[in-house]
Symmetry: D2
Subunit: 81 residues, 4 copies
């Protein structure tokens, strides 16, 4: 099975590097770009067929290894058996 965990800064946390990329979009001529937020993704493959237990494992990996709950949110996406 495989899945993706996305880790993004919470909405109210400033992202200066995302803003730098937005400025670079403007410098390229794309003035319509209003906001860029930078985050991380983790593509995870594992052995097993049980979607339920997989979700529990992914939840724990997100909480304990990938995201800082004070400043980041994470979401589990695209679980594929």
């Amino acid at each position: 099975m495989k899945a993706t965990i996305s880790v993004v800064l919470k909405k109210d946390v400033l992202d200066p590097q995302g803003q730098a990329i937005q400025k670079a979009c403007h410098a390229l001529g794309h003035l319509q770009v209003a906001d860029v937020r930078q985050g991380k993704i983790f593509e995870i493959r594992w052995e097993g067929q049980d979607r339920k237990s997989a979700e529990a494992v992914l939840q724990e990996i997100g909480e304990k290894l990938l995201a800082n709950p004070v400043i980041e949110d994470f979401r589990i996406e695209n679980i594929q058996v």
Copy 2:
């Protein structure tokens, strides 16, 4: 409108930090985790309604500002008007 651009290492490019996270999954007891690959996401919001021209702009931003074509692939996801 908004969309996400995901930037991931090409399949044949080694990802030691992803492997470190896989080892940490094992240390947590999740021995079924077979592979972890780390990448970046960029959540982009922009003014405008035209999906076609948006796709062209996102393609250019991915190519020129976000991904190194020699070692990384990018994909445009979740375009929402």
Copy 3:
């Protein structure tokens, strides 16, 4: 001239990915590794000879483009003419 700007999480901000790398060090047999903190560096080259004005520019780049002052510290290092 060139210099490095290091951006690191503040001391009291949790770094789960740094901890994952510490766990992976342990899994490699290096049990003496007590702590790993992950950060970013930016190697910057610019035209000009004036160290004083360079420091002011680097300070502004650190503040406005690279570091989130709520969760991150930055330091300017290795200024070389």
Copy 4:
């Protein structure tokens, strides 16, 4: 003891996100900024007093967990007892 491991893209590897930050420096008015390269740092603390064995451990951590030797270089810096 503590030390820093810096992981940077090799000189001939393109860094589009570093270039995006350079463009953002220009957008801020700092036209003298000629190049920005983005990398990672890892601040590592460990138990022990032996600098020689520490260097060997840091070398192995850099090689096995932190840097992809095809595209990245790493350097060990600021070892402090």
